[in-house]
């Protein structure tokens, strides 16, 4: 067994030796080492696959945004401003399904997960590179088929597809839409298998579990949920399809079926699915919050294990979506108590992040602005979830706009902000270019302000009784609805702005260099854009992932003759004899 010499304390950052301009211009990296459409469509390089996901997920995000634009514009008047009743159903269903299945679930695992997981653990690629590419193709096939079905006829069941409406009464493309979702589910499973196998088997020497970046812990927990939950929704869709095609009653009460059984099976996946969405976002936050407070994470073990805790306990709470559906009363009580429990690991993370900020040296570049937005908005979203988790108060709040506001605070205020934080944080690494600081900060402010204006009124609306998914509402709710729509427009501008300055940075941005944020982490130890095989030689890791304490520690240790770097790699490693006096955190 390889014995890695124990080093107690040295920061992981290495001042990046920049190549002279002529060499830099000719340097081969993953973007320029081969050209042509097939070098992209047939790539097995995890970094290129990450970019493929980036382009497609962004397009689907726009589609989902268009759908909600229709919804919110329609809600300007109490009787529906622009859509017919059935069109409204199709619009909110399109918004929900596209945003969940085609954006929130795949985006961070597909883009940042694919790009960063091998790099962060010091590997050359994912465990199964060809499977990785297949995963993207399967996702694209399912997603494009699904969007096509939405366009030709639509889906009006809500993203939850409840029978018997979806199987017996709806005249929309439930079957084919369900097939599209089924196919994208395979992609989730393949990506999850890849990520788990990679993290277990391909860590570089010295990269023990307790030295992994917390983004990796989060991706691991996410993949666990995907592995265990997605098959159940797959079989549920199959049963629903059987009911629809053959006119039999699996979930239809008129034919001896149980509609609540569908809800059990559906939510067994779909509740953990929301943790699939948020955990990668939380993983990103760990990386940005440490970098932009120049501080080690407070409570590494607590944060790491709370990711796993969310993954496990998240599977025990699905019945809180069914309090009013008719499930057993005592079971409802049990689900309510367990829902209280699942809030604990998330709260642990928020406390640890706050403690990380404390006495840190904080700067507010765009990634950090999105991170701050995440902290506040996700916390609000999380605590409002508790109102819904308590069985008694849920009786009043179920199926109202309170629920909508709650999950938008966690999904958009939480996950979307975290995605934007991650995109802005790793953009220089992925492209080698730095975007405009001014426009990125402005976009963050616009998005966050717009978000608050959109969704705070919805808490009030919901509490006062406005039901969700209704195209019409009582006239006294109109003012808040208009406010919400106005906020949505501002929010939309905030999300559209990166579509301009990010591509612009590819042509007009300054060269970012290997480590523009002076961050720790193995991905920052290589030039931007990274070389084809990530590392010129296998890295060796001696210390934890967030050692921000000693900015030039390696230089000082080098001076003291305690460590040396050899010609083989740009990463320093320990000498044969090491004084024990070096103590660290």
């Amino acid at each position: 067994m390889t014995k890695v010499p124990e080093l107690h304390y040295t920061p992981q950052m290495v001042p990046m030796p920049e190549l002279p301009p002529e060499q830099e211009a000719n340097r081969l990296h993953y973007l320029n080492h081969s050209y042509g459409i097939f070098s992209w469509l047939l790539t097995v390089d995890h970094k290129r696959i990450g970019l493929l996901y980036l382009v497609s997920a962004s397009v689907f995000f726009l589609f989902g945004g268009l759908a909600v634009a229709l919804v919110r514009l329609n809600l300007i008047t109490p009787t529906g401003a622009i859509l017919e009743l059935d069109q409204y159903n199709k619009a909110f269903t399109a918004h929900g399904t596209i945003m969940l299945f085609l954006f929130l679930i795949p985006v961070i695992p597909g883009v940042l997960g694919n790009f960063l997981v091998p790099m962060m653990i010091g590997a050359k690629d994912m465990a199964f590179p060809k499977l990785n590419l297949l995963s993207w193709y399967v996702w694209m096939a399912g997603a494009m088929f699904f969007v096509w079905q939405l366009t030709v006829g639509g889906l009006d069941t809500g993203w939850t597809l409840y029978p018997p409406y979806s199987s017996k009464y709806s005249h929309t493309n439930v079957l084919y839409a369900g097939l599209g979702i089924f196919i994208t589910g395979f992609s989730s499973i393949l990506t999850a298998v890849n990520i788990i196998a990679t993290i277990h088997k391909m860590r570089c020497p010295g990269m023990t579990w307790s030295r992994l970046p917390l983004f990796i812990w989060a991706m691991y927990a996410t993949s666990l949920i995907q592995l265990l939950g997605t098959p159940v929704i797959a079989v549920t869709i199959i049963l629903l399809a059987t009911e629809k095609i053959f006119g039999v009653g699996i979930f239809d009460p008129a034919l001896e079926g149980d509609p609540i059984l569908f809800q059990h099976m559906f939510w067994f996946y779909s509740h953990p699915a929301v943790y699939i969405m948020i955990l990668p976002g939380m993983g990103v936050i760990n990386e940005t919050i440490t970098c932009f407070s120049r501080k080690n994470i407070f409570g590494y073990k607590a944060v790491a294990w709370s990711s796993v805790g969310i993954a496990v306990v998240g599977f025990l709470v699905w019945g809180h979506h069914m309090f009013l559906a008719g499930q057993g009363y005592y079971l409802g009580l049990l689900f309510s108590i367990l829902t209280m429990l699942v809030a604990v690991p998330s709260a642990i993370k928020v406390f640890n992040w706050s403690a990380t900020l404390f006495k840190g040296s904080i700067s507010f570049e765009a990634p950090m602005m999105y991170t701050m937005g995440f902290l506040v908005l996700f916390t609000i979203g999380g605590v409002t979830g508790l109102y819904l988790g308590v069985l008694g108060s849920d009786i009043h709040l179920h199926d109202t706009y309170f629920v909508i506001a709650h999950f938008h605070f966690t999904m958009v205020g939480g996950m979307l902000m975290a995605w934007l934080a991650g995109l802005h944080f790793w953009w220089p690494k992925m492209t080698g270019k730095m975007y405009s600081d001014f426009w990125s900060r402005l976009a963050a402010v616009v998005a966050i302000v717009g978000f608050i204006m959109t969704f705070i009124p919805q808490f009030i609306l919901g509490y006062n009784g406005m039901p969700r998914r209704y195209p019409n509402y009582a006239p006294e709710f109109q003012f808040l609805n208009i406010l919400s729509t106005a906020g949505a427009s501002i929010q939309g501008i905030g999300y559209l702005m990166p579509l301009f300055y990010l591509p612009a940075s590819l042509f007009l941005g300054r060269k970012a260099g290997g480590n523009p944020w002076m961050a720790t982490g193995l991905e920052w130890q290589v030039p931007s854009p990274p070389p084809m095989h990530n590392f010129d030689s296998t890295p060796v890791v001696y210390f934890g992932p967030y050692e921000y304490s000693m900015p030039n520690g390696l230089g000082q240790l080098e001076k003291a003759g305690m460590i040396f770097s050899d010609e083989e790699s740009t990463i320093a490693h320990a000498g044969q004899s090491l004084p024990e006096v070096i103590r660290g955190s």
Binding site: P118, K124, A127, F128, V193, L227, P231, L239, E256
Partner: protein, 273 residues
Amino acid sequence: MAANTMADEPAPVAHHFNNMLQQQSTVRLGMWLFLVTEVLFFGGAFCAYTGYRIWFPKEFEAGSAALNVGIASVNTFLLLTSSLTCTLAIRSAYKGNQFGIKLWLLATIVLGTVFLSLKGREYHLDYEEGLIPTSKRIVIQEEQPDGTFISKERSLFAENVTKVLHKEGYDTTGVYMPRVQLFFVFYYVMTGLHVLHMIIGIGLLSWQLILAQMDFFRHSERYVYIEVMSLYWHFVDMVWMFLLPLLYFAGPHTLHQAIEQFKLALGIASGHH
């Protein structure tokens, strides 16, 4: 290229792995992770089935009594033997015995195909007996005690399954037929998913047979790919081990019935009934 030289060199390691052991153990882990998803997949179907069985025990018993247990019993041994042959293929690959690999892979494929043929025959017999869940209804003339006939509308499926159960000597009083149809929906879905997995498995085994023909397994380190194939195949066998008691033996059957039903499957009608 001479046949022996490939076996003498160590197998090439994929570019992103450091050594063959890492590659082998990662491939194994990958397949086990995939099998986790398969367990949850079938588990979901079994969970739904169990819920309804708890609610409708009598009807599920009746539905099971109408199934062809003869074919199922023979299929059990076919699948079990194919698990054996698949495991023997691993050993051949480990030893570098090219003929053995092809022999045992082919045996597995053949046994699997016979299973599928018998299953197909079983579905065909079910179709002939009219045991396909449907919403169609028929009108039957029911004889009254005074000799007159009145028209009654019944579900076509209910009619058919009652006929089959009476033929098997099963008393259908107090059995509510729409729930028997629910049993049959689960029967088709669960066995159908199993059949689908077998077809995929046979496809993969055939691909490995082709690879063996192309000397892919000359490097004995590559036995791990046969091993992960066998993991999948054993899983398929495991699902059948659950399907048999849950679906086929929920209702009463006798050995005599099973033999008769198997003869029926082979087309050797005994003319007893």
